[in-house]
């Protein structure tokens, strides 16, 4: 059996990769994907804990969170499309997407 800690470490690495991506990637789509990565890290945690504790709650939570993530990405992509239409860019560092400040 794979040691329990491996799951946690995997999840943590995924989470950190996701967080790093959110902080550094300039393309909004990639940032959204990175957020997905972070969510999935949490999902892995849930599944691992659920399995470890023999508790269905973890898996139930994962189902919930996956659907939530899907909805979020759907809305997110729509919002990005809208922004692209108006700003002609999806680069988050562009002046067009940093006009609201201070």
């Amino acid at each position: 059996m794979i040691p329990f800690e491996f799951f946690l470490v995997l999840a943590a690495i995924l989470f950190v990769i996701g967080a790093y991506g959110v902080m550094t990637k300039s393309n909004a789509i990639i940032v959204l994907m990175c957020i997905e990565l972070m969510l999935n890290a949490a999902n892995i945690n849930f599944v691992a804990f659920g399995a470890y504790n023999s508790d269905v709650m973890g898996q139930a939570f994962v189902v919930m969170s996956i659907s939530v993530a899907a909805a979020e990405v759907a809305v997110g992509i729509a919002i990005l499309l809208n922004a692209y239409k108006l700003r002609k860019t999806t680069e988050l560092t562009d002046a067009e997407l940093t006009s609201l400040r201070w």
Binding site: A19, M23, S26, L97, T98, R101, W102
Partner: protein, 678 residues
């Protein structure tokens, strides 16, 4: 009738209100109201004095008071206090004031609408003085004392705007008024301190409580000494003693009638009166009396020097007032010193000698009131005619103004101590008191010498003034006045002159008719003090005086002074310029600069007042306010700075979130470690 004593100050106060409200509509803008008020006060004073002196109570004090209010547990009263001293003071004050008001009708006749202000203010001034005289406690006295201070401010500054002689004179009057008020205020503040000490020590300010020997015994002598010294500070301010004397010459900026009122009937006499009234407390410590005497004697000499070369007729009179006030204080100091020594040693003879000094001081105060009022009013008459105060522009006025010149001559003779004139009697008694005290303290001997020299100087400068004004060649303004037919002043002015001249000549004889008994200061069995009811020497004075060799010394010195003045200014035999290198000598310059006192006052007030004030203002703006503004600036600037973190770049936002999590996690662990939760 004596229970109506309170009316004496009340009537002039009522006149003040009446003139203030209706003055503009009455003839002479309220002048007659003021005269009537003063006359009623005089009449009341006369009736009450007569009733008191002939009544059953005499020589006991008649006192009555009502509760005014409380300070904590201490009760403060309003009331009147009548004894021999009160009678004398209120009589001459109201009498002279009445005459001055009458004189004012002529003197101020051309002042138009301003007369209302004038009469209102002089009425209040008189009210202040009379109130002070009849007060039954120190606080009441202090209030009237300050009311006079206010009135003197207003009256000295009467021409502080729209002066008939132009802007410079207005500025001058304004600054003189301010100086008078501030310098006397300095004394008043000391007096207030003295009242605190007395009130704290005795728990009352009523004279009857303060003069009660039982109470005095219970008070710490050092406290009492401090209190009396502080009170004397008030005297120094009000009676213009050295070193607070310098406001008085400047106060000549007011109308001459005001000078006359301040110098003769009211105001400066208040200080002397305070010493006389507080005598029972002053004599508790001989050193205090020594100090009083020193101040008085030195002032008498010191201020007389400045009269020697002054060219302004009113200024000469002002310095002579200072000098004469010095005499009075000296006399009270010397008498008090002897009395205190006598009390300590139980020596009745010393106490009697002390009483003589007290009588001399009060007596001189009264005589001085008559002749100084006369002199000022005469000078006013002269100024009225020639339109200048500079004696070099006068001269030869004797023919043009016969009444003025003669009455002024009588006044001058009196102040100079010419035998049998009023000043002669009292001044000799003063000098004698100093001499007696000299037996017990060598400092009084020094003061005696100064007093003798001052007597000489007085005779000289008074006659210098008279000769320069009325004799010799006609000056520029004399001629000018003659051209325009400005001769003798109107009757309303000359009549008071004549009346006063009579008093200036004869008031010295009052002492032969029991005045000394009325003013005698005695310690009764049981330690109570009393003014009045003493032994009256009557005509024995006459023989006493003329068997004393020093009397002849003063007479001779006075005559020599008059003669030198005659030679210098009437005959022009001696050129005064010889003595002062035509005004170039150091002494002459120093005298002209009034020994540097105006500069000293200016420097002190400038440095201690405005100098520190500028510093405080700087601190206020830069440090205190600066801190407030700095703090608010820091907050606003901090807001600007922090808002720059909000770059608009969503990466920064997410970085901040993650950084925040890291910081919070560390914080949580640290807190948990500290609290021992983990």
């Amino acid at each position: 009738m004596i229970e109506y004593t309170w009316l004496i100050p009340f009537v002039p106060m009522l006149c003040f209100v009446l003139i203030g409200i209706f003055g503009q509509k009455t003839p002479e803008k309220g002048g007659y109201i003021a005269i009537a008020g003063a006359a009623i006060s005089f009449a009341l004073s006369g009736i009450i004095a007569l009733e008191y002196l002939t009544g059953p109570d005499y020589p006991n004090v008649v006192v009555d008071s009502i509760c005014w209010f409380h300070i904590g547990d201490l009760q403060l009263n309003l009331g009147y206090y009548v004894d021999g001293l009160t009678c004398m003071m209120m009589l001459f004050s109201s009498f002279i004031s009445t005459l001055i008001f009458v004189y004012s009708v002529g003197y101020m006749g051309d002042q138009g609408g301003r007369k209302k202000r004038y009469y209102a203010e002089v009425s209040m001034f008189l009210s202040g003085m009379l109130g002070l005289i009849v007060s039954s406690n120190f606080l009441e006295m202090f209030i009237f004392w300050e009311v006079m201070g206010l009135c003197s401010y207003l009256l000295i500054g009467f021409w502080s705007f729209r002066h008939p002689e132009g802007d410079a004179a207005s500025s001058n009057a304004a600054s003189a008024a301010k100086k008078a008020f501030l310098v006397t205020r300095f004394g008043d503040v000391c007096l207030m301190g003295g009242l605190f000490v007395l009130l704290g020590a005795f728990g009352s300010l009523d004279f009857v409580d303060l003069f009660n020997p039982v109470n005095i015994q219970n008070v710490n002598p050092d406290t009492l000494t401090l209190g009396m010294l502080l009170c004397f500070g008030g005297v120094i301010g009000k009676s213009a003693q050295f070193p607070l004397h310098d406001w008085l010459p400047d106060a000549m900026a007011g109308p001459t009638t005001v000078s006359s009122l301040i110098h003769a009937a009211t105001m400066v006499k208040a200080g002397v009166y305070l010493v006389a009234r507080g005598f029972p407390l002053f004599v508790q410590n001989p050193d205090v009396m020594l100090f009083v005497g020193l101040i008085g004697g030195f002032t008498a000499f010191f201020t007389a020097t400045m009269a020697l070369n002054n060219m302004n007729i009113k200024r000469v009179l002002a310095y002579s007032t200072l000098s004469q006030l010095g005499y009075m204080i000296l006399s009270l100091g010397a008498g008090g010193y002897l009395f205190a020594l006598g009390m300590d040693s139980g020596n009745a003879a010393l106490m009697a000698a002390g009483t003589a000094g007290f009588v001399a001081g009060c007596f001189h105060m009264m005589n001085h009131a008559f002749f100084k009022a006369l002199l000022f009013m005469c000078s006013g008459s002269v100024i009225h005619a020639v339109g200048t105060e500079d004696m070099r522009l006068m001269g030869g006025l004797r023919k043009q103004m016969p009444i003025t010149s003669i009455t002024m001559l009588l006044g001058s003779l009196s102040i100079a101590g010419f035998p049998f004139f009023s000043g002669f009697w009292s001044k000799d008694l003063v000098i004698e008191a100093a001499f007696e005290a000299g037996d017990h303290n060598v400092l009084f001997m020094v003061l005696w010498v100064l007093a003798i020299v001052t007597a000489f100087m007085t005779a000289f400068y008074m006659f210098r003034m008279w000769f320069m004004t009325f004799m010799g060649e006609k000056g520029k303004n004399t001629l000018h006045a003659a051209e325009h037919g400005h001769g003798e002043s109107p009757k309303s002015m000359t009549a008071p002159l004549c009346i006063l001249a009579v008093f200036a000549v004869v008031s010295g004889f009052f002492i032969m008719f029991g005045l000394d008994g009325m003013l005698s200061f005695t310690e009764l069995p049981g330690g109570f003090f009393q003014v009045g009811g003493g032994h009256s020497e009557g005509f024995e004075y006459f023989s006493e005086l003329f068997t004393n060799p020093y009397t002849y010394l003063t007479i001779v010195l006075a005559l020599v002074g008059i003669y030198i003045a005659y030679l210098m200014y009437a005959k022009k035999k001696i050129n005064p310029g010889r003595f002062n290198r035509e005004g170039e000598s150091v002494l002459y310059k120093v005298l002209t600069k009034r020994w540097g006192f105006p500069d000293l006052y200016n420097q002190l007030s400038w440095k201690l007042g405005y100098g520190i004030a500028r510093g405080v203002d700087y601190v206020d703006r830069q440090v205190v306010d600066g801190t407030v503004n700095g703090l608010s600036g820091a907050v606003v600037g901090g807001g600007e700075a922090v808002s720059r973190v909000q770059t608009g770049d969503v990466h920064d936002y997410s970085s901040v979130v993650l950084l925040g999590i890291a910081v919070l996690a560390v914080l949580f662990i640290v807190i948990a470690k500290i609290m021992g939760g983990i």
